[in-house]
Symmetry: C2
Subunit: 338 residues, 2 copies
């Protein structure tokens, strides 16, 4: 068991009950079923509820382990951790509508179950709960840390919407560049992961330099995470990822390897421009992108970004179990198969 897994095992039950407490506190005695929709999405209620439907809670784990690394009692940071996980989940509820995704963590998405109007509103409700969760930290931290954390979370949420805007725009654009791609995933994926680590550092009243180093760590980690996701979307075992039932080739998604190959492989560009790729072609085309070096390039990018994440982590000069766990986590990321 990795050191990250050891931390996870200890922290996860606290995170789960912390999240549920926010619901109990603010949606208690609530005759309406906004609570039920959200509890379904969080993986606690309804058909298929359970660990798998809850997701990995990576973001709150990162926040609390970072807090531990800078010598804050991680239990005290639970309100921050809950806020981040709720922001993540609100954005999933809305993204699923916007991207027309019907499945999430192996279950029907909220909008499929309750319709688009109720799903938009349920997402808004969860987003609001996130801020209420954060303010729960008032009992444990001085006002300036609360305000600093709120401001960071607000800025991060703005970046999320900007990343999502770009992602939607790219769908209808032919000339998406790699630069566009990095901008998009910086907002859509990396911003919130960076926010976790930075907020963990802020909770320990760390120096600006240390906070910034953790922000950078999260940023590179987030980019690496997304590029690895893109890698798996082409060369992963679809039975293992369980995320989508089709290759990114079929869904015509402009991921990093695809954008790279569009720039460098004329044959692939011609096939891509010619229209929908069907299931039968997937094996052949992903082999094509292995042979032309796209796979190798993508893999080396994941390694490079992971290395950058580890380098900034080292720069903090902090050494303890929590730092080791963060380091472990970056490696497991590169090696994951799903």
């Amino acid at each position: 068991m990795s050191r990250f897994d050891k931390f996870s095992k200890e922290l996860l039950p606290t995170i789960e009950s912390g999240l549920q407490s926010v619901f109990d506190h603010y949606l208690e005695n609530n005759q309406n079923s906004v609570r039920h929709m959200l509890a379904y999405h969080m993986g606690w209620e309804g058909e298929g509820a359970g660990i798998k439907a809850q997701g990995k809670r990576i973001r709150p784990l990162l926040l609390m382990i970072t807090a531990d690394a800078v010598s804050t009692d991680w239990r005290k940071t639970l309100p921050f951790a809950c806020a981040i996980e709720m922001v993540h989940n609100y954005s999933l509820i809305h993204d699923d509508i916007e991207d027309h995704s019907t499945m999430r963590r192996g279950r029907e998405t909220v909008w499929v179950r309750w319709g688009i109007p109720q799903a938009i509103n349920a997402g808004d409700s969860l987003y609001t709960l996130a801020y209420l969760a954060l303010l729960g930290a008032r009992d444990n931290f001085p006002p300036d840390i609360i305000i600093k954390s709120s401001y960071l979370l607000n800025l991060t949420c703005l970046k999320l919407t900007q990343g999502q805007y770009l992602d939607m725009r790219f769908e209808n654009e032919d000339s998406v560049t790699l630069n566009d791609y990095w901008n998009m995933i910086s907002g859509k994926t990396a911003a919130l992961i960076s926010c976790c680590c930075q907020m963990g550092a802020i909770s320990g009243n760390s120096s600006d330099e240390v906070c910034e180093a953790f922000a950078q760590f999260g940023h590179f980690l987030g980019l690496a995470f997304q590029v690895k996701d893109d890698y798996l979307g082409l060369w992963g075992d679809l039975n293992q990822t369980g995320k989508s039932i089709e290759s990114d080739l079929v869904s015509h998604k402009k991921t990093l390897p695809i954008l790279y190959a569009l720039q460098n492989n004329v044959n692939f560009r011609e096939r891509w421009d010619a229209g929908s790729i069907n299931k039968d072609e997937v094996k052949e085309i992903s082999q094509l992108l292995t042979d032309d070096g796209t796979r190798k390039y993508t893999h080396s990018l994941v390694q490079e970004l992971t290395q950058q994440a580890q380098d900034v982590l080292k720069k903090t000069g902090i050494r303890n179990d929590a730092m080791d766990a963060l380091n472990d986590m970056t490696w497991s990321l590169v090696e994951r198969e799903s």
Copy 2:
């Protein structure tokens, strides 16, 4: 010119430029067009931009006049006022999608122009900007007032989503009671107006009693405002309201007079249950609801709620120009024709 109008004339330019500053600060150098969508919705850009498209900015006005009433420099409360107006507008963008409304302030709604996915995301972006706007008050107020105001705004936004949930549920329910109605509009309309007045009082570091009195004032004002809206939806001059092109009878909306008449007028209930009411019938049916006392009942409710608003206002014991303006405002509300 009423005393409220005099205040408005002085405050409105400040509010408008305050709102624009938040956009400039956080969406500047933003190559994407989320800014454009939001500036369109705020009435600043695109076809039909101008005063009429901006709405009345009633909520920030209420906040700043209340601040003035409790002897706070209203200029300092601009970040709070902007936050509230942005929350109001984010909720309109999402409500328009949820209610399938195609027109707003005489122009096409955001989702009609840019599609549902982009409109959801633009609303999320505006909601986030609201919180960023609020934190702009850090320069003018101590941290505890910032945190108190944030918490109030969060709780209010939660009530908004609960009111909207009920409103959507009522569409598909036959047995909506008057009690359900009051619950719904307490969240959907009154909560944010109450929040304006309470936050204005908080900005002056007022006692809990005074803050609570202003909260109550806004609550009754909000209810009166909504019931008057419902009144105009049946007996208003549709050319003057400009809000919708049809009577609430045609849109089958469960407003207060309609729910009251459903309880008390068997003939009306039978006609309502029989299905869609068309334009030709509107005159006759609204006359029916005049003859059976529904109109009188609705009108007296508006007066009663307005009186309650004024009574709690008096309870604060504060007397000055701003209090007179708030008082004027409640009367103009009862007498408005659009």
